[in-house]
Point group: C2
Chain length 104, copies 2
């Protein structure tokens, strides 16, 4: 089960729409980098139950992104600000672009 | 029942999470500026049912924004790009900022 970094962004956008249990397992896996077996032991469930929860969560995150597209918008904004930062020779604009990136 | 423009932004962000019926009524009211009575006639329901649907939708949009905060992030990004645009004397940066605003 390869970790897909795209889910880190989706989890950041939509994690609050998941159940507490789903979010907890997904955060341990994607944000804190625990293995399926480690999470199973922590949560006192089987490794298969962890895997099923993650699969269900991933499908739910993808469906929400298909509906709302916020992760795509944030990615596009990040790219826009990074381009501004790359060509800026104004201290003021550089600071504004950095502040903008912090908000994303 | 005063129309609150904040809901236009929330509807743009989260409209796809509403039921088809809720979204349809909210779009007629907020985006197409029909009155409660006009929507009632179109949908063949009472004016009170339209009002109840809108109230329910507004509560749902506010709860979702409290969880996800995307409308706030988009507002902050818009302000950041507008500030860049206001101080930019580079054609390239002006164009990038304009493109960014188009994405929001």
């Amino acid at each position: 089960m390869a970790k897909n970094l795209h889910y880190v962004l989706l989890l950041d956008c939509y994690g609050e729409l998941l159940t507490d249990r789903q979010r907890q397992i997904a955060e341990l896996y994607y944000n804190e980098d625990f293995s399926l077996s480690e999470i199973a032991e922590m949560q006192k469930i089987t490794r298969q139950a962890v895997r099923d929860s993650l699969r269900h969560t991933e499908q739910s995150l993808i469906r929400t992104e298909q509906k709302l597209g916020m992760a795509g918008r944030i990615g596009a904004m990040r790219s826009c600000l990074e381009q501004i930062l790359a060509v800026s020779d104004s201290q003021q604009i550089t600071q504004l672009a950095r502040d903008g990136l912090e908000l994303l």
